[in-house]
Homo-oligomer: 346 residues x 2
DNA sequence: GCCATCACTGACAGCGCTGTCAATCCAAAG
DNA sequence: CTTTGGATTGACAGCGCTGTCAGTGATGGC
């Protein structure tokens, strides 16, 4: 029993074994395995049968070495369990697998001092055909230079920071913010305050931009925003700070997690939601509909965003290059019970 | 600029290039790269300098092919963004990377009809030195047979379902349940109801077992439990079902997410928490301290659990086999505001 | 009915590295 | 000064597959 852990790998059958068993050449087996043309139906079947009988599994390392394609995609993702990034990881993995690739994952953690460049080097060394970036790119990570020749997909909001060849897909953060702010303004609020996410993330910057631009377009005053780090704890702390600075009647919070903390701070200060203060979140997390006060929020299809990005990336890998390189997917407002008209007409 | 996407990979330098540049043999470079012995200090330095000057990066595929070790670990993880599994993924990735391995991730989704055996086959084909399983193993997945000779780590609660050679680490679900139930009993509740997680998961089964055994040990009656699927939505629905069946004064819910839904259902039915009903969750999610009613819950160090498991797995891979193969890590109760004595003494 | 054409098929040379084993060198021992 | 043994170094043969190119029949045109 204890031998189970020893490498009893049953002397894996190789392509040569299959060839011998099927009575054909190595190359013909290779053709069948890779679904190439120039193999007659009869031979193809014989080989296929041999493959099944022997339980043949192609050796990825040998394949990669000979073909210089690993059929593996590397992903560098910030380490969070928040709804958005989580859904993105999910969508990426699924799409990658469906395209016949596998996923090599590296997560970055802010506190870890583990820089992106190093993570990239490691992935490239292991061998990847493409690279996906789903993590903050700010002044500190100036543009992830030279991903060493592999196509790069950033799941992010397209902006000037991205290089020319890069594929960038994201959700329409700016429009989401616009919808949130307009919803609050249309309820009668004079203006809307903003509790932003970690500004290292483009998503946080773009949500803040959308908020600001919408207020300006509406001729509303623009209160000083505060920024957290996406956690409920930071939402709690930053909302307290905001309350020290003024008395909002409406707040657009950059994600649902922080909104939970923010609402907690509002209630602890004696304010009710939405009675005294309306709150809109972002992401539509799983639990947001079931909070004490079900949360009005912006829903984005992160899974689909990821999927589209992966398709685009694989097109670039195999040399087909038609679709636009940078685009965003639409989002929409989900109205629940955390928003209402201001108590006395604003 | 558009050439960025073409594979302009700068004709990667090979070990041969380094050898030539350093004036030594291929094998000597190999020794330096792999930190083997039998290389004099002077030669080692020369080679190291050559490596840096040329920016040499070992080719993973070639290495894997020649050595039959990929330095890659495969992980099959259920696709959820819940706090526990999420933290486990995080911990695994970090530990794997710190040990110099890379992580190939496959996520399974219940609705997808994508079975574990197939995922394993794919990972083995790509080449992995070890396999990690973090996903439900129930009657439907009878024991993940024959991982083809690679050491297997299950992050799960050790039980009979696991095979002899398997490494199993988990958190002490049973003890967590015990602490939750005892806390509620000690507040004066006559008994404690249970809203369980998805029974496909060992965690759900063990939490239910701990709950039942603790009640029995205390001589309390054991109400019929209900089970959800870890989501807030299922917590909401199943709590309504529980309320149809009886009038609990205390409920132990199998995770925080479901607890949020459960509390929502309680409040919608006119009950207050903890006034009418006390609720204990499990996992201590990020937002649990900031809910309208901060949640009493069980905290487990999932990251550490994952880390310990990975260390153990790598020991098995390199053939060192000392530490016990199956163990659990302790958990502890975090008391917040969702629990209180029953309204009229039970 | 003969040659160009095309669909198949296979031989062979590596891909970049590691494992094995033989060769070499140096210092200490005899 | 020669012998012995350990430490260092290198030559060479693959790992399992793909890419290239040559070879083989069969098909079709004139």
């Amino acid at each position: 029993m204890e031998s189970v852990s020893r490498a009893v790998r049953p002397a894996a059958v190789s392509m040569t074994d299959v060839a011998r068993h099927a009575g054909v050449s190595l190359k013909t087996v290779s053709r069948v395995v890779n679904a190439e043309q120039h193999v007659s139906g009869a031979v193809r079947e014989t080989v296929q049968r041999a493959i099944e009988e022997l339980g043949y599994q192609p050796n990825g390392a040998a394949r990669a070495l000979a073909s210089k394609r690993t059929r593996r995609i590397g992903m560098i993702a910030a380490s969070t369990s928040f709804s958005g990034p989580s859904a993105i990881l999910d969508g990426v993995e699924k799409a990658v697998r469906q395209q016949g690739y596998s996923l090599a994952l590296v997560r970055t953690q802010p506190d870890e001092g583990y820089e992106v460049q190093h993570a990239i080097a490691q992935l490239i060394g292991q061998g990847i055909d493409g690279l996906i970036l789903s993590q903050p790119v700010g002044p500190d990570n100036p543009g992830i230079q030279g991903p060493a020749g592999v196509p790069l997909l950033s799941i992010d909001y397209p902006d000037a920071r991205h290089s020319a060849g890069e594929i960038v897909v994201g959700t329409d953060e700016v429009d989401g913010a616009r919808q949130a702010v307009n919803h609050l303004l249309s309820l009668g609020h004079r203006t809307v305050w903003h509790l932003g996410g970690d500004p290292a993330w483009a998503a946080a910057r773009q949500r803040a931009r959308g908020w600001r631009e919408t207020l300006e377009a509406a001729g509303a005053s623009v209160p000083e925003p505060v920024f957290g780090d996406w956690t409920a704890a930071s939402g709690f702390a930053q909302m307290q700070k905001m309350l020290d600075a003024g008395s909002p009647t409406a707040v657009f919070v950059a994600n649902d997690q922080m909104a939970i903390g923010a609402i907690h701070a509002l209630e602890r200060s004696g304010r009710s939601v939405p009675g005294d203060v309306s709150v809109v979140g972002f992401d539509d997390a799983d639990e947001s509909a079931f909070l004490h006060t079900p949360l009005t929020t912006i829903r984005a299809d992160f899974q689909d965003t990821a999927r589209q990005g992966v398709f685009r990336l694989i097109e670039a890998i195999i040399g087909r290059d038609e679709a636009p390189r940078q685009f965003t997917l639409p989002v929409h407002l989900v109205i629940r019970e955390s928003t209402a008209p201001p108590r006395n007409g604003g």
